[in-house]
Symmetry: C2
Subunit: 491 residues, 2 copies
């Protein structure tokens, strides 16, 4: 496959047609019953699974990722579509609240009020490079926006254009066959196409996974439009790991191996890659970790731009006086070998800005700390992160709450005695965090609650039954869980 | 009371102390159990009620609003604090979701995940002019942010500085006496003080009620900071009312009176004031409406700036060739008399930008329409609004859904056979809407769900019981409603 097979940028006329069709689809798609949209999501999931044999080889060619990983990613993506279908059928996502009229309410009578969530309208999704399926065309942003009832336009990532195009065709066809309104879903190509679409008044929200620089630029466009729109960007994260002396004593070898496995997984190209490992002074694990690093085979990176970005940031870190190179991973034809660096918490605290920069790729830093106070101070030096991880033993429990409090203030997910890579798609997952982890820490991009990003509330006041949406009628024909006069009533 | 009794701007040193105290209070305030924060809110509510006798006279002096209105507003504000206390005690607002570990999950095993919402941190509230209590120091933004567990700094509105200062003292004292952390609440004064605080990294969210111009300027500051923060602004709204021929036939006189009562209430200084009334051609109600307008006593406006702004916009509307002045309300010493204008839907559709501008004060426009198609086209000309109102009869029901669909797309609250002024504080209330009604249509500024603006999710992964927050423990010691493995379980 030659690079000539790049998909051309979507033309202005084509973009106009896509935007116009999405705007036209918003009403009918939003008007479907939740269970009807669930059926569309399941049809998309089935089609994606059925096309895996065709799509995965394209993904391998375009991303350098191995087959097993990509096959798993397809399953994760189709599973995600089905989980959102479950959430639609369950119905809580509509957040229906009914308050009876109260003519005696003080200081003023209260009318009959009925609240629910409705779709925002067409959503623009900027796909990521590092998950050609799960954070790309058929990924979480697409699934949650479609679930919400918002038509979706995906701006394909240039790292896997043919896969994006073909996956888009599979989904469009599946949605059409299942009866979705024309315009429910589309894929476009081109950086300028994306920024132009982001300024279009028919786009009512946008989601993004990528770099801090790219995400911030798009955030600025989204919020300075004539009509500002929500911009849900997941940007960057260091994902520090904190290990207690007791954990080193009890499971030092396992921690060493788990750490290297996590930071080199997918050639370190995960937003949840652990960028720093805090170990107590005298931990004695450095050689063990270094051995594991040296034993990790070089692997290709997603694309040349990411390879260069990683090399540049790795070299910058290695050039810092207080940073010691334990293992320098060479760039070779076979791919990139992982790099292990080391420093101390004292040095980190002396110049946190230099060390607390994301290095996207297989490079991580061991940080030796002198004791709990220094560990806490180091934790406080971090900004917003997607995850923070603690390795500890039962005996540490009384001393951990201050550390967990500091970390919770800075992160979206706290991992205990595990590793941050691998983001389960589940009801209780939160994938987000304070800036720069995301541009909207109030929301998540993974898990069923991600649907909330594309919905807004509406209240109906004193409206006759016949004119109310089904979700708000007295007889609850959709069988929804609802809050009635303050009381939660399961379906 | 002379204008010399203006409260001076808060000094830079004082602002620094307030911000520092708020940052210090965030941890302890957020760590209180929901029922403990409910107690703080109830203490604040009681103190506000107890101080009404002292506060209302200051409010009368500073706002020109009548005593009955202000007394009602105190009751509304204390009731609002108590409703948020109810919501805290009920506990659903924490959105607790627990997923059991599933080692057999495909494509990857699922860890134990437990999600809840946690406070964002210190919130800056920009108080409004037109509700000296309910959208000011002790208003809905304050109540919902405190309920969330976020310390609050209110930037007082310059229209009622002494009231703001004194109300702040009452609340600070009540919160302190009830055991709230120092720094939980503060009031500051000065426009520059507000914009400076908005850029401070210790402020994690802001809320605002005011003009489109002012709100947009603050939105830009909030989103272009180094760390962008959520900015919940309620800006402007036209609140159109649509009346069917059948409603005119059945209740023309009542509609005429209700309309005038609503648009002149509070001298028209409500964000929900009906700015346009759509009536079928030949409605025959103009004289009746004009009489009611002429029969409405002139009343003072909140302040000179608002009086001038209203006069300027009213005069601009009167100067439009297609607008006819039915009643011109003169500005006199006794106050401002209401103004009634008239035009047609045809003229409105010919130049919507000229006519669809908010005129904050007692001026409204009757718009004659020729039939249902023209009415629908006129409805489609509107941008984001807080409310839209329909007056209709049972016989209209089959023809109304298209109109309601168009209006729902553009508004946060649909009022049927009522009037938009008067926003009930209730579980099911939504006070919001697409831009420019608000800067964040996904959220509300009134109703218990307003608390959601100041909370962000966190997930705990594989964390031992002893280290989990009480809300997430297996034994559910707080008695919270929770979702467990996908199933909603009331407390």
């Amino acid at each position: 496959v030659s690079t000539a097979q790049i998909v051309p940028d979507t033309t202005a006329d084509e973009v106009e047609a896509v935007l116009s069709a999405a705007a036209a689809a918003a009403g009918p798609l939003g008007a479907l019953r939740p269970a009807e949209r669930a059926r569309l999501l399941r049809a998309a999931a089935d089609a994606l699974d059925a096309a895996a044999g065709e799509l995965v080889p394209i993904a391998i060619e375009e991303s350098s990722l191995p087959e097993g990983r990509l096959t798993g990613e397809v399953a994760r993506s189709s599973g995600q579509l089905r989980l959102f279908a479950d959430a639609l059928e369950e119905g809580s996502y509509l957040e229906v609240i009914l308050d009876s009229a109260d003519p005696d309410a003080k200081p003023v009578p209260r009318p009959d009020l009925r609240r629910m969530l409705v779709p925002l309208g067409p959503v623009l999704v900027f796909a990521a490079s590092n998950f050609p399926f799960a954070f790309s065309v058929p990924g979480g942003d697409t699934a949650s926006a479609l679930a919400a009832g918002s038509p979706v336009i995906v701006k394909a990532h240039p790292g896997h254009p043919r896969l994006s195009q073909r996956t888009g065709e599979v989904l469009v066809e599946a949605l059409r066959a299942a009866g979705a309104p024309e315009g429910t879903f589309a894929v476009v190509h081109g950086m300028e196409v994306g920024t132009t679409a982001l300024t279009d008044p028919r786009i009512k929200a946008a989601a993004f996974t990528g770099s801090v620089k790219g995400g911030r630029a798009l955030l600025d466009i989204a919020t300075t439009r004539d009509e500002p729109i929500p911009f849900y960007g997941e940007l960057g994260s260091l994902n520090p790991v904190f290990v207690t002396p007791a954990a080193v004593s009890a499971r030092g070898d396992a921690i060493a191996e788990g750490y290297v496995g996590s930071f080199t997984l997918g050639t370190g190209q995960f937003c949840t890659k652990p960028g720093l490992l805090f170990l107590p002074e005298g931990h004695g694990l450095e050689e063990r970790i270094a051995d594991a690093v040296r034993g990790t085979a070089p692997a290709g990176m997603l694309n040349e731009r990411i390879r260069e970005g990683h090399a540049h940031e790795r070299d910058r870190l290695e050039g810092i006086g207080s940073v010691r190179t334990v293992v320098h991973g060479a760039d070779a034809d076979a791919g990139i070998a992982p790099t292990l660096l080391a420093t101390t918490a004292k040095e980190l605290l002396a110049d946190p800005d230099a060390l607390l920069q994301e290095c996207f790729g297989p490079t991580s830093i061991i940080v030796d700390y002198s004791g709990p106070e220094e560990l806490l101070a180091a934790a406080e030096a971090f900004g917003g992160n997607l995850t923070a991880t603690v390795h500890a033993e039962d005996a540490d429990a009384p001393t951990l709450p201050p550390l967990l409090d500091v970390l919770r203030e800075r992160t979206g997910r706290l991992v205990y005695n595990g590793w941050p890579t691998g983001v389960a798609v589940a009801w209780a997952m939160h994938h987000g965090g304070p800036y720069p982890a995301t541009t909207a820490s109030v929301h998540t991009s993974v898990g069923t609650t991600a649907i909330r990003r594309f919905l807004r509330p509406v209240s109906y006041q004193n409206t006759p039954q016949a004119l109310l949406p089904e979700a708000l009628r007295d007889d609850n024909p959709l069988g929804l869980p609802r809050r009635v006069d303050g009381e939660l009533r399961p379906a």
